[in-house]
């Protein structure tokens, strides 16, 4: 111990230490200063509205404190559970469909398409649905499924597959499938793009070694590629789950939540509670409930699908 101390240089002058600290302090201040606009923006557009929603969820329109009464009302409303059920059914249709289809396309392109030009073309085609405004997609979908002039029924009739119009938007099951199909069309390319990018990170040597050992396409996928794609599945689930809770435009245009309340998803129900019923307290309570639920769901997903690759 004493030897170690003896080997340390004796502090002769404190000046360099102070200068270092001062410089570090200045650098920290500069870092905070640079971060300030971003943090300020987040504070204004995220934190303040969140605090307002929290306050609204426990107060009446006149500002008087209500405790948890808004929450009790929101959770006692049978329409909330209908909306929750509709959202659950919607998620159960769209999420697996998009992941399976997106993965299928990604694997197909990754293994069969070698020409860079064709890959670039497929990339552009996949980006297109993502950049089209949801309202426009809703309008186009209505032209496809609408009673009377829907393109889908006309094509099926001309092909001789049906003799009577299918009521895509009037039958509860078909209406749900119709609105879900729009989501699948728009967001499968997103899954494809993410997973395709993930497949590019799989080391070539591992795949080639497996192939030499006689691994088939399934073994190759199951034991090598899937390993690299796991964190991306988590990413996809995070994004898509949040999107499913925000779905509004195309459902509003296609069915308006009907028939009855069959396709009234949570976002549509929240919109109606706030902008039709003008029940701000209940809408705020619902928003808080949804936020807490999604946070719990996210942490569960994180535990099931660990982010680390190893």
């Amino acid at each position: 111990m004493s030897r170690l101390v003896a080997e340390l240089p004796a502090p002769t002058d404190e000046r360099p230490v102070r200068v270092g600290r001062r410089r570090r302090g200045r650098q920290e201040r500069l870092a905070y200063l640079i971060l300030l606009p971003a943090l300020g923006t987040v504070f204004v557009i995220v934190t303040i509205p969140f605090i307002v929603v929290l306050i609204q969820s426990v107060t009446a329109d006149d500002g008087s404190f209500l405790g948890l009464r808004n929450f009790t009302r929101a959770l006692a409303n049978p329409l909330f559970y209908e909306a929750l059920r509709a959202t659950g059914v919607y998620a159960l249709i769209v999420l697996p469909s998009e992941i399976v289809l997106g993965l299928g396309f990604a694997l197909l392109v990754h293994r069969t398409v070698r020409r860079a030009g064709l890959r670039a073309t497929l990339y552009v085609l996949a980006v297109l649905p993502l950049v089209v405004p949801p309202v426009a997609i809703g309008v186009v979908a209505r032209l496809i499924y609408a009673p009377g002039y829907g393109v889908l029924n006309i094509i099926l009739e001309r092909l001789g597959l049906i003799h009577q119009e299918i009521q895509w938007l009037s039958n509860p099951t078909l209406a749900m499938l119709s609105v879900a199909s729009v989501d699948v069309w728009q967001w499968t390319p997103f899954v494809y793009l993410v997973l395709f990018a993930g497949l590019q990170t799989v080391p070539r040597e591992s795949v080639e070694a497996a192939q030499v050992d006689g691994a088939g396409w399934w073994t190759q996928f199951r034991y090598i590629e899937l390993f690299y794609l796991r964190p991306l599945f988590l990413l996809i689930l995070f994004f898509r789950l949040a999107d499913v809770l925000r779905v509004f435009d195309h459902v509003y245009i296609l069915t308006g939540g009907g028939p009855g309340t069959t396709t009234q998803l949570l976002s549509l129900y929240l919109y109606r509670t706030e902008f039709k019923f003008f029940d701000t307290g209940q809408a705020a309570a619902l928003a808080v409930v949804v936020l807490v639920s999604i946070s719990i769901l996210y942490s569960l997903i994180t535990r099931v699908l660990p982010l680390e690759r190893a």
Binding site: G148, S170, G258, G260, F277
Partner: protein, 441 residues
């Protein structure tokens, strides 16, 4: 020359920059101040996008030519306009000098105290050429019918003037039928008679919420049913109400288009305009916009327009859907805005407005034979306004009530519930909503 530090340089630059960027804002503020005290250079109107504000856009420049005041029209889709106005009024914002309002919004805005009274503030009086109902619908609290409990002690004032005289009417193919239907029994008989493959005897506008509600209320009233009685007690589960909804969703539905529960006004107009349907209810804007539109409709001159046929109650009751102009409380240009409304109401200017596609409220113009040639529904509209039509219940809870009722009617049309179950369930939900808002339902 004195040298300055880098920090001082940055500070001075920031101050100078801020001063320069503030100049436009300061000038704008000065400009607003000037226009408050004198004649403003422009009036900003929050308007609904569509056939309703089209004629207003056309006459705006005429007012500018006469007065030098620009009429700037800011358009919003129907739902957006409502929520935009509510949030503007809540903040007492001065963004708009005038606002277009659908008449069912009046209770909400009246209860909020969001508008400037036109009678006491700007001297508006009733004109005998304009039906009383047109003024009544813009008055708050309502001069007839039940008044919300919180509003009963308020003095009545005129807050809105109708600029689109909308009343729901009935249309049928006069080239096929020999006589106009006078009752809903006649409507049913005609529907059965003319219904055939790819030609529907009746068109139901049954999409959930507002469309289903608007389409069914005239039938509900004509059958003696209603949403509320005169004491705000819910009446949707009465025998008359259930009979009316059963008539629409069972009897007429037999002859209606498939997927009626997903049909809105545009789909209905398409079916009528391409000659695939015999009859339906209609609004004036649908007539001018599609059914009688040159170049797109195949039934021009083949349709007749009449007031809503009579039901078992002995009455045929149309529904008002007037669009009014009001002056938000937050506007700094109230007087100039009131002058614009007065200018719009003058007979000559209203005639010009009609010639540009507007729907008048003056009886003399509705009965004008020349104008009637290009607007074949004018006589029916005049009769409907004189009848008078019903307005939707005057409560600030109407949006909620309409959503519940319109969803229930849609469920009955889709066959998800029987008409009785749908009405019982809607009545229970509306009771809960109204009780929560302090009504004695």
């Amino acid at each position: 020359m004195q040298r300055i530090t880098r920090r001082e340089f940055v500070k001075r630059t920031a101050v100078t920059g801020a001063a320069f960027t503030s100049i436009p804002a300061i000038l704008a503020a000065c400009g607003t101040g000037t226009s408050t005290s004198n004649k403003p250079s422009k009036l900003t109107v929050a308007a609904v996008q569509g056939a309703e504000d089209g004629p207003l856009k056309k006459v705006g420049p005429m007012y500018t030519a006469k007065t030098g005041i620009t009429i700037e029209i800011v358009e919003f889709p129907y739902d957006t306009l409502f929520s935009k106005l509510v949030t503007t009024f809540q903040a007492n914002g001065s963004s708009y000098d005038l606002c277009m309002m659908d008449d069912p919004w009046m209770p909400k805005f009246g209860t909020m105290g969001a508008l400037q009274p036109l009678d006491s503030n700007f001297g508006f009086t009733r004109d005998s050429d304009i039906p009383s109902i047109v003024y009544d619908v813009g008055t708050w609290p309502p001069p007839s019918g039940p008044v919300p409990p919180t509003e009963q002690s308020k003095a009545k004032h005129l807050y809105g003037i109708t600029i689109v005289g909308n009343v729901e009417m009935f249309m049928y193919r006069k080239d096929l039928a020999t006589a106009a239907p006078t009752s809903w029994d006649d409507v049913k008989a005609n529907a059965a008679r003319f219904n055939k493959a790819n030609f529907y005897g009746y068109v139901i506008r049954g999409k959930a919420t507002n469309p289903a509600s608007s389409d069914s209320l005239p039938i509900l009233w004509s059958f003696g049913g209603d949403v509320f009685d005169t004491n705000w007690k819910v009446k949707l589960d009465s025998t008359e109400s259930i009979d009316a909804i059963t008539f629409l969703t069972k009897t007429l539905k037999q002859y209606a288009e498939p997927s009626a529960d997903n049909i809105d006004a545009a789909d209905r107009d398409r079916l009528i305009a391409i000659g695939q349907a015999f009859q339906s209810t209609t609004w004036p804007a649908e007539v001018t916009g599609v059914v009688e539109a040159q170049g797109s409709s195949q039934v021009i001159g083949k349709m007749a327009y009449i007031p809503i046929p009579q039901g078992p109650s002995g009455k045929g009751i149309g529904m008002m859907g007037n669009w009014l102009l009001g002056i938000p409380k937050g506007s700094h240009n109230g007087s100039a805005a009131a002058d614009f409304i007065k200018w719009m109401l003058q007979a000559d200017n209203m005639k010009t407005y009609v010639q540009n596609g507007g729907i008048p409220t003056r009886t003399s113009l509705l009965n004008d034979a020349t104008l009637g040639q290009t607007n074949p529904y004018f006589p029916a509209l005049a009769k409907s306004l004189a009848a008078p039509p019903n307005w939707r219940p005057r409560t600030d809870q109407w949006n909620a009530v309409e959503t519940i009722y319109g969803t229930a009617v849609n469920q009955a049309i889709a066959g998800l519930k029987t008409p009785k179950d749908a009405m019982m369930s809607a009545a229970a939900q509306i009771r809960t909503t109204m009780q929560g808002a302090g009504y004695p339902s």
